[in-house]
Amino acid sequence: MSSTTPTAAEAELAVQARQGAARSDGYWSGVLKRLKRDPVTLFCLAILFTMLMVIVFAPFVAPADPYQGSMIRRLRGLGTPNYPLGTDELGRDMLTRLIYGGRLSWFMGIVPVIFAFVIGTTLGVLAGFAGGKINMAIMRVTDVFYAFPSVLLAVAISGALGAGIFNAILALTMVFVPQIIRVAESVTTSVRNLDFVDAARASGASAFTIVRVHVLGNVLGPIFVYATSLISVCMILSSGLSFLGLGTKPPEPEWGLMLNTLRTAIYVQPWVAVLPGACIFVTSICFNMVSDGLRQAMDVKG
């Protein structure tokens, strides 16, 4: 099971630790140097940054009001004057709705991962460092959550709790916590058995100090990289919940919900109706590429 320590990973970490001690210009400047040589990751970062700026400054960028519709200009096509991306089923400007929709979609894609990162790292490091019964208790509970496919788990929890942003965030956090616990636990277990932890203990460091200085310093990187890879999944899942009518409620603009309300419009304005999904796709693929780039730059295995 997960408690058996992979010796190869141990050796790897030991080498990394030794290199870290010997390097003078620091770990992070090395990571930055490697990232600078990775054009694909930089390109995706640029797209994400632009998107973030646009949705943060939405009131200044968006050409119209996201809630103001008009019955006489419903479902206009791409390239309509004044409405470059057309209008939706209630005659609201698509471009404006997409810009404002990014706010909630990004929020719901990132916030659950942050929550899960904090909770999962705490529990995972605790399980890995304490071992024994505590490890047993925490890991067996995560096993239960692993018995559900993640989409099903998210739908089950938010389906029972009912629609709403808060419930969706709660459900998604519960989906990702067990996954982060597993990663955190296995990395912590392999770090815990390294010589420098023994040395710190022998020199009288308290358990708290060992965790804070020696363990966290070595496990946060890999867990962080893993968490960034979850953002893409989280965005797809949260939009999926809204698509099912479980996340955001109308008239709030959100990409998944917009896809849902525009579903019947595919026979009238097919290319306008699929725009919100394209936004989800671009964002999620960029987050995935950046996560892959980070993994390589930070030299994290697995």
Binding site: P149, V155, G162, S239, L259
Partner: protein, 317 residues
């Protein structure tokens, strides 16, 4: 080996119980009195009390869980609030349809993923590798419900080649293997296959490139074996892990097909769940999730056992 077998099967029992408990709790965490999940809201007060006693809802939670479990084990998942029919009877046809869809999608994704991943792993660092990896990343990043809509726009609305809705002519939900029905399967199966395609490509690429770097492959080549024979050796080494991934993916698709089924109105468990959510039909929600999760637990067990049986390198005790 036998010991491992017994231990692994026994280990699945507490997991299954805990999954059952989770599903039981779903109705408890739902806002409102769980009694509302059984009686219509306009029932008179004394009837409500009577039902509460009949169902044991006045007893403490652990006792309720026990009572509920006894019924579930006997195949009684309660009655739907919307239709009044037993949940299990609706669930049976739905599971069959979802299984058809998921198996087709998993097979398709597995075959394409193995080809792409195998090529990428063998010719690592080439253009071929780049293309396959890009496909894989796109496959795991695409919101598949959106991909389904795009497919409908292209193949149903614009080209008018394939039907967009349902599982058969006239919206029938009875499945049979003829073209009338199968043409309804094409778009949802392709849409759903994109996820396992991406994951299998990534995994197989990793496995193959690791095997290709091992000394025995160099030795086989040095011995003068033809490319095809070397390929057979690689397949034999990669198969157990690849099959395990495929088995788990089937489980993910069974549970994860809800979004695609909603897009295509495919009459499976996903559509059942979707309407249950809309009507707040908690017994249906609970029953469907319980059965799907149990299926996943059983599949996990089967994959573990299969992997142990197939791969002589794994020695478990």
């Amino acid at each position: 080996m036998i010991l491992y077998l017994v231990r692994r099967i026994l280990y699945a029992v507490p997991i299954a119980l805990a999954v059952g408990f989770f599903c039981f709790m779903l109705v408890q965490i739902a806002p409102g009195d769980p009694i509302n999940a059984i009686v219509p809201p306009d029932a008179p007060g004394d009837v409500v009390e009577q039902v509460r006693r009949d169902y044991g809802l006045d007893k403490p939670l652990p006792v309720q869980f026990g009572l509920w479990l006894m019924k579930v084990v006997q195949g009684d998942l309660g009655r739907s609030l919307a239709t009044g029919r037993p949940v299990w009877s609706d669930l049976q046809t739905a599971i069959g349809n979802t299984l058809t869809l998921a198996v087709c999608a998993a097979l398709l994704g597995f075959i394409i993923g193995c080809i792409l991943g195998g090529l990428a792993g063998t010719f690592r660092g080439t253009i071929l590798d780049r293309v396959a990896t890009t496909f894989a990343v796109a496959g795991v990043s695409v919101p598949h419900y959106w991909l389904g809509m795009v497919m409908v726009v292209i193949f149903s609305v614009q080209l008018n080649w394939l039907p967009a809705m349902g599982a058969g002519p006239g919206g029938s939900s009875d499945w049979s293997w003829n073209w009338e029905h199968m043409q309804h399967l094409v778009l949802p199966a392709i849409t759903l296959s994109v996820i396992p395609m991406g994951i299998v490509t990534r995994t197989v690429r990793g496995i193959v490139s690791e095997i290709m770097n091992q000394e025995f492959v160099t030795a086989l080549r040095g011995k003068g074996l033809r490319r095809f024979d070397v390929f057979l050796h690689v397949v034999k080494n990669a198969a157990p892990n690849a099959l395990a991934i495929m088995g788990l993916q089937l489980g993910y698709l069974m549970g994860g097909s809800i979004l695609v089924e909603t897009v295509f109105s495919w009459p499976g468990t996903g559509l059942l769940l979707n309407s249950a959510i809309f009507q707040r039909d908690l017994p249906v929600l609970q029953g469907t999730i319980l059965v799907l999760a149990m299926f996943f637990v059983a599949l996990n067990l089967a994959v573990d056992l299969m992997q142990t049986a197939l791969d002589p390198r794994i020695k478990r005790a």
